[in-house]
């Protein structure tokens, strides 16, 4: 079994590497289709509409933009393997160090939000399925349809309006109260860093600040989970083993949540990786609205500044984390369903 998993992991890792290479290649080719000449590319890197020809030439030399595309691609991949994602054209710092500061903040936000969204979605999906075509089902359907259709910025703004301005319960922006002393950088995620440093005020403040954006991210994925859980539960509730469980005289609660739910869970695991991708995409807007200084916020700044290396680096990083999430989902899938073999 152990060697089986090792083999599976190796296979998936090779696949992931190929996918990432494809990904970089796609972005690279797209850039070169859009901007075929080195001068146009250099303008992009220079990030200055009024750059002099000498400066442009300097930029071409610095980034090696005059080389053939294959050489450039090779160089980029080699740099990527060294963990070098290019230089931020605004600050002049390496993009990787900038992103390392922001990535944990976003990951913390997305993971907390997604876990909450998935848990609530599983519950409401189960409720809807076991009360099919009755009031609870319609209620759940109305909720998930409206959250599904609502653009993330609308949800974010409504949360701000209700919880921050009307009820005055939670802060409407920023990652943490800026007046508090910052604990030492360990993981970069504010809640965990506060916990490690024993800085309770900081931790409490960051929890307060994360609630609204995390809830918004949760809502983005909630609709998908509810929908699939409902469909999958309805399938499971039709099965003979559920009928048998009812005939044995088990209570409805036990059958629904004990017997049917476990079996309905299996197809949903695949979805969780998908929602992760979905949430990371949604985080861009949500962090912008909440002024939550994570990777998404940084990307929006990069869009405004046309900071091309940062945008490409962000795209590749998101791709990497989605591939990792997919791998994790496959492993979970095998753990949940003994019929699934890892090959």
């Amino acid at each position: 079994m152990v060697s089986n998993i090792g083999f599976f992991l190796a296979r998936r890792a090779i696949n992931a590497v190929i996918t990432i290479l494809f990904l970089v290649l796609i972005i690279f080719i797209l850039v070169h289709i859009i901007l075929p000449s080195p001068i146009a590319l250099a303008r992009l890197y220079a990030n200055n509409p009024h750059a002099t020809p000498e400066y442009i030439q300097q930029v071409i030399n610095r980034y090696g933009l005059a080389a053939p595309i294959w050489t450039q691609f090779y160089n980029y991949v080699v740099q990527l393997l060294h963990g070098n994602l290019g230089t931020d054209t605004i600050t002049g710092n390496p993009v990787s160090t900038v992103l390392i500061n922001y990535l944990p903040v976003t990951l913390e936000l997305v993971i907390i939000g997604q876990v909450a969204g998935v848990l609530v979605g599983l519950y409401t999906g189960g409720i809807a399925a076991s009360n099919r075509n009755r009031a609870p089902d319609y209620g759940v359907k109305a909720i998930y349809l409206s959250t599904w259709g609502a653009p993330p910025f609308l949800v974010a703004v409504i949360f701000q309006l209700i919880f921050a301005y009307w009820l005055n319960l939670l802060p409407s922006s920023l990652v943490v109260d800026p007046t508090l002393p910052i604990p030492a950088f360990v993981t970069g995620a504010p809640i965990i860093d506060g916990l490690i440093a024993g800085n309770w005020a900081y931790m409490y403040s960051s929890i307060q600040h994360i609630l609204l954006p995390a809830a918004t991210i949760g809502i983005v994925g909630f609709g998908l989970v509810t929908r699939l859980t409902r469909a999958s539960m309805i399938d499971a509730l039709d099965k003979d083993y559920v009928k048998l469980a009812f005939m044995k005289g088990l209570s409805k609660r036990k059958v629904v949540w004990g017997t049917a739910f476990r079996n309905a869970l299996i197809p949903i695991i695949t979805l969780i990786a998908l929602i992760f991708a979905f949430s990371v995409g949604g985080a861009v807007v949500i962090e912008d609205v909440f002024d939550y200084h994570g990777m998404g916020w940084f990307t929006v700044q990069a869009i405004y500044n046309l900071d091309y290396p940062a945008i490409v680096a962000f795209t590749i990083l998101v791709g990497l984390s989605v591939i990792a999430a997919n791998l994790a989902a496959d492993l979970l899938y095998a753990a949940a369903d003994p019929r699934v073999r890892l090959t």
Binding site: I18, T19, I20, S130, P151, R230, L271, V280, G281, V284
Partner: protein
Amino acid sequence: MGLGSIFDNMRRKPIRAAKSGTAVDLGASATTLEGGQAGEVSAGLRFYFLYLRKDRAALVGVAMITVFLGWALIEGILQQVTALTGNKFYELMLVPANPNTLDFNHVLVAPTLNNFPAYLFGTNYLGQSILARMMYAAPHDALASLVVVGSAILIGMLLGTTAGYFGGWLDEGLMRLTDAFLSIPGIVLAIAIATLVGGGFTSLLYALMVVWWPTYARFFRGQALSLRDKAYVEASKLSGAGSGRILLKHIFPNSIDPIVAYATLDLGTVILTYSVLAFLGIGLTIGYPEWGAEASVGLSYFPYQWWPTIIPGVIIAAVVVAFTLVGDRLQDLIVGRLTY
């Protein structure tokens, strides 16, 4: 309690393939329809209509979509006429107010019935009527959704069917490519592409087209895989038909049907993504309002002036929900019909 509701309903809701086609094959989950509709196997609009009529929610969705697409078509044509003749009269003929006129005497007017209907949704920070701007911007959203989903179906059909039908290294290569595209959330890749291409509605359309096809490629591949072993394909092969003819006559027509429901849902998703990109300031054209951009600009005056942000958001949500309602229902219908 409980038993009846579980056992009596033998019609099972299909599992929807989630946003990337990795989840469940639409054709595979066996379902049966409720009694009366079983006879209506014949395809055609009448059948769809009869089915949709039974569901009030879906009817509401159809009505909203009709209004949205109808208005977008009319206003779009009028805007084209304006572009051809250079006379602004045409495009403003049906809009309650000029969406671009600045009126600093009526800045941030709350939604009111005064000066009906121009101030129905209030005005933004430049005194422009939000209703007029929403109505004026509708053609872009409708066009984006139709063009992007249409191109995704075409590209996906071409690549996916080829991969599934021929198999082998072609399949492997094309699917790795699809995986690479699927591994990035569409919105993130669209941001990257649209920023690189730089500005404008057309570049945003290209970006969305580049991003949108992989789900469809996966889907059509699955269809081709299941269809290529069907008896009629075998028969066609035996009678000497070439691959091209089989693909055109058998595989394409038979695999397009189940995608209709997903594509309907997806029209809404495109509008959602498009509005989010516009919210981030990507793909805007100067002088042309966008639903998402409208909300983004209003954010500076939030929360004391809530309407410039909330109203565009609610309109986007309403349109997307309409597409979802109809797509949801069509999905039941099509999956049911397929296995019957």
